[in-house]
């Protein structure tokens, strides 16, 4: 028996993950597994973004970049070295998280870097990283990287079921982390930072450390899920790994679902991904891109505090400022 509430909550999330693990046994159709993969991938991205950017209200446009760093770390290690996949997997976390920690160490020295300025710097950095990747022949060099052959015989082995299970495990891990943070001491500190950093600091919160570490964790998880995605893509190229639509969708999913809770971004990710898949099923990809994008834009305009805020009709409480 697990006695405390957080233990029970964690067990519940893990149980839900185990339940979803039965999917490959139910259906082996690639279409079903790929749909599940997409849902879980976006869930992981939105929930991990929210850990820092939502809880502490530091909206970052760089989550797609950290995800891409994870993709390229894995593609490079699989093709250029003979190390086992597990090493590439962990390295994806370490490199993406490491970049974020370095960035955080530099940016969070001054509290100027919040709001639109933090968003901009992270966006700018995403451009820089994409340029570096496309100009470095070890990583890509502008030609793209074939990962499929290198992934053969590894843990993932290009199998849809294994890819699905890997991303499921990562989604579960990310949600558990978000849940534990949101319901614990660390989350209290992040919420205090969100509300008023000066008060947080004078109440004993080492805001610098909390921000740097949480940003690193958030980015690391995005990099981690980038690792199986390199194998999923099979062929990795800058244009499809670093598009602006990834950070855009992640932000909108989290904001629509609600950034103050651990589960809000799950709702946002599932709704948006489902809508996207349904539209893509209708035919022209370009048209569905436009419809989903406009839908998100209108929703954000109408309810900048998320769908929850719309339903509850609470008197204005700023989510983003």
């Amino acid at each position: 028996m697990i006695r405390n509430a957080r233990g029970r909550g964690t067990a519940g999330i893990v149980a839900a993950g185990l339940l979803l693990a039965a999917l490959p046994a139910v259906s082996e159709r690639t279409y079903v597994l790929t749909l599940g993969y997409q849902l879980l991938l976006w869930t992981t991205l939105a929930v991990s973004w929210n850990l820092f950017s939502g809880f502490a209200n530091y909206p970052s446009f760089g989550h797609g970049m950290f995800f891409g760093i994870g993709v390229y770390t894995t593609s490079t290690m699989l093709t250029a070295t003979s190390l086992p996949y597990g090493v590439a997997f962990l390295a994806s976390f370490a490199v993406a998280g490491g970049v974020a920690v370095l960035l955080g160490l530099a940016l969070f020295r001054s509290t100027r870097f919040r709001g639109d300025l933090f968003g901009l710097v992270t966006l700018v950095l995403a451009f820089v990283v994409a340029t570096v990747v496309s100009n470095t022949s070890l990583l890509d060099g502008g030609t793209g990287v074939f990962v499929r052959a290198a992934a053969e015989g590894t843990l993932l082995d290009n199998s849809p079921a294994r890819l699905y299970l890997t991303v499921l495990a990562l989604a579960t891990l990310t949600v558990v982390i978000a849940y534990l943070i949101a319901t614990g001491r660390w989350g209290l500190g992040l919420t205090a930072i969100r509300d008023d950093e000066e008060v947080a600091e004078s109440s004993g919160v080492n805001t610098y450390r909390v921000k740097v570490l949480t940003f690193g964790l958030s980015a690391g998880l995005a990099g981690l899920v980038g690792s199986p995605h390199a194998v999923f893509l099979g062929y990795v190229e800058v244009g499809s790994v670093f598009p602006l639509s990834i950070p855009l969708f992640v932000l909108m999913m989290a904001i629509l679902g609600g950034t103050t809770t651990w589960f809000g971004p799950i709702i946002g990710a599932v709704l948006v991904t489902a809508a996207q898949q349904a539209l893509i099923g209708q035919g022209q990809a370009e048209v569905s891109q436009i419809i989903i994008g406009m839908l998100l834009v209108v929703l954000i305009l109408v309810c900048p505090n998320g769908l929850g805020g719309l339903l509850r009709r609470r008197p204005r409480e700023e989510v983003t400022s």
């Binding site: 919040r114 901009l120 700018v124 451009f127 855009l248 909108m252 400022s321």
Partner: protein
């Protein structure tokens, strides 16, 4: 002059002229961001949209390139006003505006691809000779050649940025805008009509995008992902020049493009896009040490 010197001079001049185009695009961004509190990425897409419309009007409808302005400027003006009116109505905050216009930016690429295809389109074959033949600069730069659309970019920048800078300082609307930026409540007491001012300014900004779009259509081949390459330079020059100060943005854009072109001449051109960003990062790190006013309005974030 030695060939090398000519090449360097040529690079500097074309860089500076390209900078004036980006300065014109940045005009709308810096005014809206600095004075209306709207971080408008979509403005960059609107410029390309203007370029495509110009393309169609010239190549399909057979209009004179300059005559297209009679169509594009008023319609863009209305579009800009309508968008701003929605923003005012919904009391959109700075960060929400950033997110929304970023979303529109991403959507716009798909819309343009859908309407005009992803292929590169160019007006060059249908343009009259006086718009395509290189002209030599007067002494002492007689060895340097420039293209007429580049001179058009220069003229557009001087006219638009000159007028705007003057209007912000000297007209009732300009002073009202500054007052509104400082304190909307007080501005209203002194008779500034907030919604009307904001909507007019946004309409004007969109109108400048139409002009810049016309220059773009004459100057370069069009493809839907161009805004992605412009965004960095435009945003960085707006920030470096000091938000709300078009002349500052123009100077920054000219400087950035000269440096970027020189870099491309001597080193690998593929690294050139990083130049603008490096300057921004450098500036952001050094800015607290300088007493510059550049990012003043960003400090607290709305």
């Amino acid at each position: 002059m030695s060939p090398m010197q000519v090449a360097v001079l040529q690079t500097i001049v074309s860089g500076a002229l390209l900078g004036t185009l980006f300065g014109t695009i940045a005009l709308g961004v810096t005014v809206k961001w600095g004075l209306l509190g709207i971080a408008d990425f979509f403005h960059v897409s609107l410029t390309l949209f203007g370029a495509y419309v110009t393309y169609s009007l010239v190549s399909v409808a057979g209009l004179h390139p300059l005559a297209t302005l009679l169509v594009t400027v008023p319609s863009f003006f209305l579009l800009g006003m309508a968008l701003q009116w929605i923003f005012v109505r919904l009391e959109v905050k700075l960060f929400t505006s950033l997110l929304v216009t970023f979303g529109l930016f991403v959507v716009a690429e798909s819309v343009i691809t859908l309407l005009w295809s992803a292929d590169t389109l160019t007006l060059r074959p249908v343009l009259p000779e006086w718009l395509t033949a290189p002209v030599a600069l007067p002494w002492p730069l007689q060895q340097v050649r420039v293209l007429p659309p580049d001179l058009l970019a220069l003229v557009a920048a001087i006219v638009l940025i000159g007028t705007t800078t003057w209007a912000l300082r000297a007209t009732r609307l300009g002073r009202g805008l500054h007052a509104m930026h400082q304190d909307p409540g007080i501005a209203e007491v002194f008779g500034v009509r907030l919604t009307r001012t904001a909507v007019l300014v946004a309409g004007f900004a969109a109108g400048t995008a139409a002009v810049a779009g016309m220059v773009v259509a004459l100057k370069m081949p069009l493809s839907p992902h161009l805004p992605l390459h412009w965004l960095g330079v435009v945003v960085v020059s707006s920030l470096l020049g000091g938000l709300g100060r078009p002349l500052g943005a123009l100077i920054a854009a000219v400087f950035l493009m000269i440096v970027q072109n020189l870099w491309a001449l001597f080193y690998s051109p593929s690294w050139a896009p990083v130049i603008a960003f490096s300057f921004l990062l450098l500036y952001l790190v050094l800015q607290p040490l300088l007493t510059g006013r550049g990012l003043r309005s960003l400090g607290g974030a709305a």
